[in-house]
Symmetry: C2
Subunit: 113 residues, 2 copies
DNA sequence: TCGATAGTTCTACTATCGTTGAAATATCGA
DNA sequence: TCGATATTTCAACGATAGTAGAACTATCGA
């Protein structure tokens, strides 16, 4: 992942509504949520939400599929992983200060016991 | 970490020059780098860089200390860890799709063998 | 086919961001 | 103390982002 792509992804997440949308979709899992439900949940007009969804989608952070009249959005785990990977990429020169706590977070999060 | 703080941190990183500065400082480690050297490395005027450093600093992503005439900036590992923790916080509901790859990244990065 | 539902696209307006040039502040060496 | 070095602060400008209203497109049920 190149720096400009990382900037695009970070920019997409660097907005209160968009970050809220993304987190909602992460919680929703692979099945995702229709745009209308997201709009109701976050409290956004359909057109405003649509522009945010376009931004997140173009940044590679969410995916979409049509299902009858609804368009279902879901978080892109690959997109997020790439970004996180890029962000910890530089801590390697013998400095685990960033990625060690990160590994803890990841582990405690996925492996509660 | 609350959503508005995460947005502030993401916004700080969501800029080509600032992300480059931050990565440079992560590479520089705890000893950090003086502002002038950063400016030369990235190719920014001193006042432009200064405004970016203020933004990164206010977001809690870098620290600074004066050393004679220079001001030395260094990456805040805690600030970065908090942000990364916030970003993976939501993948917990039985869905390791995001944080499992992240754990891999963190591990392979800090533990090359 | 027609009306209703679900989303998107387009246009315009306001607000904020990024950069610059100039001036100010802090520290050091002579 | 004075000039030089290192960096920040201030004011102003152009560019970009976020939101809203209106119109458009796609799909479904009767």
């Amino acid at each position: 992942m190149l720096l400009p792509d990382a900037v695009e992804r970070l920019s997409a997440l660097a907005h209160g509504h968009r970050l809220a949308v993304f987190r909602l979709l992460v919680c929703a899992g692979a099945e995702g949520m229709p745009a209308g439900e997201i709009a109701r949940e976050i409290g956004l007009r359909p057109n405003t939400l649509s522009s945010h969804l376009t931004i997140l989608s173009h940044a590679g952070l969410i995916n979409s599929r049509r299902e009858s009249r609804s368009i279902i959005y879901s978080a892109s785990y690959d997109g997020m992983s790439d970004l996180l990977g890029f962000l910890v990429e530089d801590c390697c020169a013998g400095r685990p200060e960033i990625c060690a706590p990160l590994a803890d977070v990841a582990q405690s999060c996925c492996d509660p016991q």
